[in-house]
Amino acid sequence: MIVNANPKLKVSCQEVFAPIVIINSIASVEEAIGYVNDS
């Protein structure tokens, strides 16, 4: 379980076929939607 992973990391934007999950803090739902749509 990883925190503070930047959006460019493989764990953030590639398909991870392993027990790895990242948890990041966001200021708003809109910000998160931006990250989700950007990968």
Partner: protein, 154 residues
């Protein structure tokens, strides 16, 4: 090797085509399937967004299961959780605690929840990606190491 020139994709008697694999092949299937239903699983990095005014406790179990069922080797496995700053610390603490409770071990035991990955190659790849994250200022709060070929979650 999958070829999307399979006769069955074009055959009118076939009503539905499902495929799990690369986007290139998936697009090829879709373009040849005509009016058939198609279900394509072409890889993803599935995310969950958690707003500030939700009941965290009700989400922890579901998120842990989504991330770690079958060792995360599912095409819709949960890979990213974005939590509103006001709920973030609480969510992370509870998620870590719940993850530490998962039983790791022999996949033949019924009470085992997490076991080894499909191959040593996949385990090494996962460790490499974790290492990349660590070198770029991310922190591993639980797990992240290989113990006897397992990606440990302790």
């Amino acid at each position: 090797m999958v070829t999307y020139d399979f006769y069955s994709i074009k055959d009118d008697r076939v009503k539905m085509v499902t495929f799990t694999g690369s986007p290139e092949v998936g697009i090829g299937i879709r373009s040849k399937a005509g009016l058939k239903k198609t279900t394509l699983e072409l890889g993803s990095n599935a995310a969950v967004i958690i707003d500030e005014d939700v009941n965290i406790d009700s989400l922890i179990k579901r998120c842990v299961m989504g991330a770690f069922s079958n060792q995360g080797q599912v095409c819709i496995s949960l890979q990213r959780i974005y939590v509103h700053g006001n709920a973030y610390t609480q969510f992370v603490e509870k998620f870590v605690a719940a993850t530490k409770k998962l039983k790791i071990g022999n996949p033949m035991n019924l009470d085992t929840y997490v076991s080894s990955l499909i191959s040593e190659r996949e385990t090494k790849l996962a460790l490499k990606w974790i290492e990349e994250a660590k070198q770029n200022h991310a922190q591993v709060l639980v797990g992240g190491k290989s113990i006897m070929g397992f990606l440990n979650l302790r």
